[in-house]
Amino acid sequence: MSETLTKVVVDCATGQQQVLPLTAEEIADLEAARAQAEADRLAAEEAAAEAAAAKASGIAKLLALGLTEAEANALVK
């Protein structure tokens, strides 16, 4: 049997806290949010990895041209 998905709702004015089952619409909405969040995160991590690889490649090419490591790092900082 699958676990019933719940939500916690807190009324900040009264302090009352309720635990309620999610509606079918809320479940669909939540799944869409999760998929989007994960896609955003993976895209950000992929972009960061690509930027790091490009930077390393650039430094290597500058070193091959005769720049010192300090000079190359300063240029691509």
């Binding site: 916690v8 004015a13 939540l30 989007q36 969040a37 995160r41 972009a47």
Partner: protein
Amino acid sequence: MSMTIISKTAVTSNTATVTLSNIPQTYDRLLVLCQVRDSGAYGSGESMIFEINEITTSGIYDAISLESGAHLDPPSTILNNVGTTRAYCGIITDDGQTSNAFSNTEILISNYSSTTTYKTIKTFSTVATTSMNTYRKSFVSTGIFESNTAVSSMKFSTGGSGIKSGSTFWIYGIKNS
């Protein structure tokens, strides 16, 4: 400046979302502290997501997000959450990581009760488990809630299985004077 706790919510069983509703409108700023862990055993951390006023049209704009950590070196500069109803506001641990390690996220909203201006949002989030090489990550962002409507509720969820029991949310009201 004075700060007053509005509510503290400790999650006592795994849940999909936590909504802080009916937020009093008597302060100048809101500070939300989140100590959260995802209930799924992924081992790679998960996203933390928040929504304001459960809006259904695009309204949250991140101007800039900075993220760094063991899996992101050097630090990245990214644009995201452009015109979304939900914002990625932090990174959290999950059940595949060090036991009982909860992430810490702080969210600050200025002018939240204004009905004439947009609101600025800053989020700060860091995950650290017991090994620096196993998993660590930091995330900061600043952005805008493009709405003249006062912030009256905030809903939190995760990109994984849900909010684990033991997670806790504190919301504080800050007065400028």
